[in-house]
């Protein structure tokens, strides 16, 4: 009996919305956390690794992110975005904190990213899902180069917009506005293509 109940519960979870999953996590259901992990841990790990350039540190960040949602599921507000973007934002914030607390790593990365900025290559190779990859790539390549570079250095390089301004040799205010304008432009492009930044 318990088996069929367990199976039904597991089936429910795999079909659950992210919000329902988080509700189950709130009820201390480890299988719900496991399902959230199954859905999103790959992306969370890849982002941490991309930012930190250190697999061990990246694993620690992933662990922290999932333990945090286990401890405080109520901090996720489904009205304010998807679980994936919430977990990635947590991961990004934590990784960036780590980067910024390590100046030597930082200096090394600044150099790496200066080279990348010069090469003008990055985010179009970082798209997560083949079904939306094409649209996301279109949205990225549709951006003016300066906006694209500012976003990739800020998001995937973990730089502040002031650092981005130095790297790109542009005024800080311009970079700040370009990041925002680029994100809005991408959202517009994706919405037109029917890709949910839901």
């Amino acid at each position: 009996m318990a088996n069929t109940e367990d199976m039904a519960a597991a089936r429910d979870l795999t079909l659950s919305s992210d919000a329902a999953l988080v509700v189950a996590i709130g009820r201390w259901r480890e299988d719900a956390l496991a399902e959230a992990y199954r859905r999103h841990a790959g992306a969370v790990y890849a982002l941490a690794r991309r930012l930190l350039n250190d697999p061990t540190l990246a694993e620690e960040v992933v662990q922290e992110v999932f333990l945090r949602i286990w401890d405080s599921p109520e901090k996720f507000d489904p009205e304010r975005g998807s679980l994936r973007s919430y977990l990635l934002a947590q991961c990004h914030g934590r990784s960036v904190d780590l980067i910024r607390s390590e100046q030597s790593r930082r200096n090394r990365e600044l150099k790496d990213h200066r080279q990348q900025a010069e090469a003008g290559y990055d985010i179009e190779h970082e798209v997560w899902d083949l079904t939306v990859a094409e649209h996301v790539r279109d949205a990225i390549t549709g951006l003016p180069t300066e906006e694209r570079r500012a976003i990739e250095l800020a998001y995937l390089g973990g730089h502040t917009y002031r650092e981005v301004a130095v790297l790109l040799d542009q005024p800080e205010g311009t970079v700040k506005s370009r990041i925002r304008a680029g994100l809005r432009r991408m959202r517009g492009g994706l919405a037109e293509a029917g890709v949910g930044a839901q």
């Binding site: 790959g42 992306a43 992933v62 973007s85 998001y155 994100l183």
Partner: protein
């Protein structure tokens, strides 16, 4: 006059903020602003959704990582709800006059320590139980919100539904209501800025010569369900003192006309 940054200055930071790309002092400024500006909160959420699309999943996370996470969960297990009586030692504690405490004989000191430990255990468990209650409350609120949100979405896409824009005259406040064929209706109120403590939004049906209360929405409403009848000409929002009123004396904050079909 205030030294607070203008709305436009904060808005300009929202993209960089969403990507963790602002300085700590700026982050604090934006955090402060977001606590009272639903529009900017929504914009940050949108930026984060876009950023999430840029994150690459590629391969699954490394093997063994889940096992370590699952192993670490034991610390966060729910507390045992069966509080066992804590009787630290057999028999009753010996009377402990102040002089004896000060002497600090082992017997009484140990008894004191055990009692203190027992009290601490009870206190900790009490806190955990309160925490768990709060967590469950928040979870059921979340579940309810999720259900309401889905009901709202479903109503929007239902044939025959009417979408009503409830907006202020200057356009600074806007929320959307959807009214289904059978008269059940939902207001997406999460776009309204939160009100201070003791204040609440209230929704009204305009019947021409008076307003009929459709619901007290609270200070920071999300999706709310209500019923409309054919006699309503429009929907109106006011701000009232908690717990709401039966007849409003307040100006209308936002209004949405209903169209007959």
């Amino acid at each position: 006059m205030t030294a607070a940054p203008r709305h436009a200055e904060i808005e300009d930071l929202l993209g960089a903020y969403a990507l963790d790309s602002v300085e700590p002092a700026e982050r604090e400024l934006v955090d402060q602003h977001l606590s009272s500006c639903a529009k900017c909160r929504a914009e940050v959420a949108e930026h984060r959704e876009v950023a999430a699309l840029l994150a690459h999943s590629g391969a699954p996370a490394p093997e063994g990582l889940w096992d370590r996470i699952a192993g670490a969960l034991e610390d966060g297990e729910p507390p045992d709800l069966q509080l066992r009586p804590v009787l630290p030692f057999a028999g009753r504690p010996a009377p402990a006059p102040a002089s004896r405490w000060r002497q600090g004989s082992w017997g009484t000191r140990a008894a004191g320590m055990v009692l203190a430990a027992a009290a601490a255990v009870i206190a900790v468990m009490g806190v955990q139980l309160v925490d768990q209650d709060r967590r469950l409350d928040q979870m059921s609120a979340l579940l309810e919100l999720d259900a309401l949100d889905r009901a709202y979405q479903a109503a929007v896409s239902m044939p025959g539904s009417e979408v009503v824009e409830v907006t202020s005259f200057d356009g600074s406040l806007a929320s959307q209501a959807v009214i289904t064929d059978d008269g059940s209706a939902y207001l997406q109120a999460s776009t309204l800025p939160p009100l201070p403590d003791g204040r609440t939004y209230q929704l009204w049906g305009d019947v021409g010569d008076r307003a009929v209360s459709l619901g007290v929405l609270g200070a920071d409403p999300k999706v709310v369900r209500f019923e409309v009848s054919e006699q309503f000409l429009g929907l109106a929002l006011t701000e009232e003192e908690e717990p709401g009123v039966t007849v409003t004396q307040q100006p209308i904050l936002a209004y949405g006309p209903l169209h007959d079909d």
